[in-house]
Point group: C2
């Protein structure tokens, strides 16, 4: 065992903590300023250690950014597993999943910002990542299960699949976090105002359930893509 803490309580050496601290500070910095706007010196300043260590552990600014993204995605996937809809009806489960996603996204704005930043860069960094691709989404599997049950019960539309449904839910939740600032500036309404939180959360549930249970119109023709790539679990 290493003697990390001295008599005065000051740390000597602790590589794990150093790495973790750099990642935490870097997450905030990249989320706040984007990749090009982020400053390696600023990250170093907010750490107990120096810039030298960033390059020692992460090779480059880009390497650091990639690990920030990977850690952020891994965290999200972990949280997704917390939701259990097995005991709920398809309609209630769908609502629970949508509202859970809303709570989750609104309480992790830095993650949403990082995803936005990565989209500005056309996902060039995460497409290089080996681990993010393997990190398959629990949310899709959960949605898929709910969808099958709801369709079997004759309660759901049959022409929307789990991926497009996921896009609908994400769209609503991401927008509230990501476009908060321009929306407020243009329209004078803060989409993340605490007083509105429960209202917006129920609204996304209403929206998704109303859409999926609306059986009165002719089905859409679900597109059959030739180029679509299958994910690794299928």
């Amino acid at each position: 065992m290493s003697a990390i803490v001295t008599a005065e309580g000051a740390q000597r050496r602790d590589p794990e903590r150093t790495k973790r601290e750099i990642l935490e500070v870097a997450t905030a910095e990249f989320a706040a300023s984007g990749f090009a706007g982020a400053r390696v010196d600023r990250i170093a300043e907010l750490t107990r250690t120096t810039k030298r260590m960033i390059y020692y552990y992460f090779e480059s600014k880009e390497g650091l950014y990639l690990q920030v993204l990977e850690k952020a995605y891994a965290l999200i996937r972990t949280v997704e597993r917390e939701l259990d809809v097995a005991g709920l009806s398809p309609v209630d489960g769908l609502r629970a999943l949508a509202e859970f996603t809303y709570d989750h996204h609104t309480s992790h704005p830095d993650f949403i910002r990082l995803v936005n930043i990565e989209n500005i860069h056309r996902a060039q960094h995460i497409s290089q990542s080996t681990i993010i691709h393997d990190l398959n989404s629990t949310a899709i599997d959960t949605l898929d299960g709910l969808l099958r049950r709801g369709i079997a019960a004759g309660e759901f539309r049959t022409d929307i699949d789990a991926l497009d449904l996921h896009a609908m839910i994400s769209a609503y939740c991401v927008f509230h976090v990501a476009n908060r600032y321009t929306f407020r500036t243009l329209f004078g309404r803060d989409l993340l105002e605490p007083e509105r939180h429960s209202y917006y959360r129920r609204l996304v549930g209403d929206m998704i359930v109303a859409t999926m249970t609306d059986l009165h119109r002719p089905d859409l023709v679900p597109p059959q893509s030739t180029r679509e790539q299958q994910t690794s679990t299928e």
Copy 2:
């Protein structure tokens, strides 16, 4: 009148064209790389003129970026006025507006990217702009009119206002453009694939109409915000 074209067809002087060309190139550059990632030298290179003229007409990189934003928003507001729903029923008008917005957003990806970039910067630039705030949205007025007619006819829910409805529509449309890259990387589906366009367009219409005409559940309590700012037309 100025003699702009010489015998060989080469331009001599044309301040308006110079300004316009800088703005066009700058729009693409900022949309592609963000504010910090954009390079003034690169913008100058793609222009017939030199970097000197950028500073001559726009003062600074920030000044240029602000005018890019202002011009982009002005263009959007112009396009919004093209839609006329006066002759349509509330339900049909609402669907038309949602699907129009989808077409519009998917055909102006640079604008969506600029808005995203501005949100990364917490809208700090457009909040300084004097003209963007005055540029009130036609979309909101159109939505408000449809909402009143639909509510009067007993066809619409009464607990969702024009601004929140606009947020729902925008969310869906913006997400497809803005999050295209990470979505494709993570799930293998391209949200802007041409074969899927008509499907996704009708889906946003279905979603909005289904949500607004779903009268079977108890109303939400519309939040009464004390801090909300009124826009200038009210």
